[in-house]
């Protein structure tokens, strides 16, 4: 238990919780805004227009090939230099995670939409439904069921990847942990593992419910 006392120092847990809040805020904002972006991108990817398809392909490949860290630096330093747009570190993180989440989710949406058999939309057509009604009432609800488990996993990845924000100087939970460790290095030299243990537990508490939701949904809709 050597070093565990660091956690009982005044202000340590509240500061870690404040850091966790920053992490959750960046992740939640990114995930929530990624949803409409992903739906739009996914729909655009299913269009037959070759120009739109190529543009979407470039967007997806660019986001996938570039390391997230490089994207973060591009957004943080590049936007200020090229467009005179001074994004703060948190804003740059949110923007990158939205672009990343939107692209990844878009690809999931595309896959889910294309996995719905054509005959389902034919069935809606012969019943007289318009293309829009068919999309909204028949195709999209089925596609959402198929893509929800995978998109919950994507949300979990976004939560974990927010830890990169520390490299832009965002004081999120990892950064707070580092500050606490640094401040107590001589008093509690063995406190490092305890602090990171608590951080691990905090990430687990945020991500675990998402995993459970994904697993439950997968089970529930397995028969559809």
């Amino acid at each position: 238990m050597q070093g565990a006392e660091i956690l009982l120092q005044p202000g340590v847990l509240p500061r870690l919780l404040q850091g966790l809040w920053v992490t959750v805020w960046i992740a939640a904002t990114s995930v929530i805004v990624s949803v409409p972006v992903g739906l739009l991108v996914g729909w655009l990817m299913t269009l037959k227009n070759p120009v739109v398809r190529v543009l979407m392909r470039i967007y997806l490949d660019f986001i996938r090939i570039m390391p997230q860290l490089a994207l973060l630096f591009l957004a943080y330093y590049g936007f200020a230099r090229w467009f005179d747009w001074n994004l703060d570190a948190t804003g740059a993180c949110v923007l990158v995670f939205i672009l990343w989440g939107g692209a990844e989710l878009g690809d999931l949406v595309r896959g889910a939409l294309q996995s719905i058999p054509e005959i389902q939309s034919e069935s809606a057509y012969v019943l007289g439904l318009s293309n829009w009604q068919s999309f909204v009432h028949v195709i999209l609800p089925q596609a959402l069921r198929r893509l929800l488990p995978a998109s919950v996993n994507l949300a979990t990845r976004i939560v974990k990847t927010t830890s990169l924000a520390v490299l832009l100087g965002v004081v999120e939970v990892i950064k707070v942990g580092q500050q606490i460790i640094d401040a107590n290095r001589f008093q509690y030299p063995d406190g490092t593992l305890w602090v990171y243990g608590v951080i691990f537990f905090m990430y687990f508490i945020v991500c675990w419910p998402l995993s459970i939701v994904a697993r439950r949904l997968e089970k529930r809709w397995a028969n559809d």
């Binding site: 389902q120 034919e122 559809d224």
Partner: protein, 283 residues
Amino acid sequence: MTETTDIAVATAANGAASANSAALSVRNLTKQYANAGRRVLDDVSFDVPKGRVLVVVGPSGSGKSTLLRTIAGLEPIQGGEIALEGKVIETGKPGTEKAGRSARSSELRTHIGMVFQSYELFPNKTVLGNIMMAPLLVQKRDKAEVEREALELLGKVGLADRKDSWPHELSGGQRQRIAICRALILHPEVLLLDEITAALDPEMVREVLDVVIGLARAGQTMIIVTHEMRFARAVADEIILLEDGHIVEHSNDPERFFTEPETDRARRFLRTFEFERAPHDQQ
């Protein structure tokens, strides 16, 4: 057979009242797929009078299902025309092989119902949701009235207790009966049935065919594509043998078609089903 009688009462007004006039006319219909060497349907013509049942039989790949799909507007046609109650709803245009579905209006589409081999219920809707969707969204009918009619139809096909079930909870035969109810609630002038028992276990075939026989007796105009010759014989007012996209034989006397077909091709075709007829005839 109570179910069939009930269905008969339900749809009587729709059919027999106006026999003789053509509900659907197909004239010189030609259909070709992109990059395909031959025509899938070539100069096909026939009328389906109101209240009559036309059964289309033929070997696999003869164009039977494609014929129904063109009538439903799912496939563009390259020649000829299709008329519903005297009004032309589709005219063939050369060079449209790659075109999508017909641009006919939503309202017009509700006049021609279609039931698929694989049911194609919407898995995100309950039984009642499936049946009520089109009348509410397309025909903008009153919800209470639609629900009442949906429950009536479900009762008639023996599935009133499954109204809140999800499609995956039902057997194939039950799903197919729901698909028939979903088409019927729109009161289509013509109902197209595309091999509706092909995906069913033998014991489920009967329950679906009873419903269709009931509809036929009630005077619902139908075009039925089937491989079930006993069923075809029981339900047909007219029968067409299709092969390689051509009508080989068109008979207004199905009984005669099955016993003394006019063409050698029909004789050979029917001979392949003799094993199927034998045990039935012994019953």
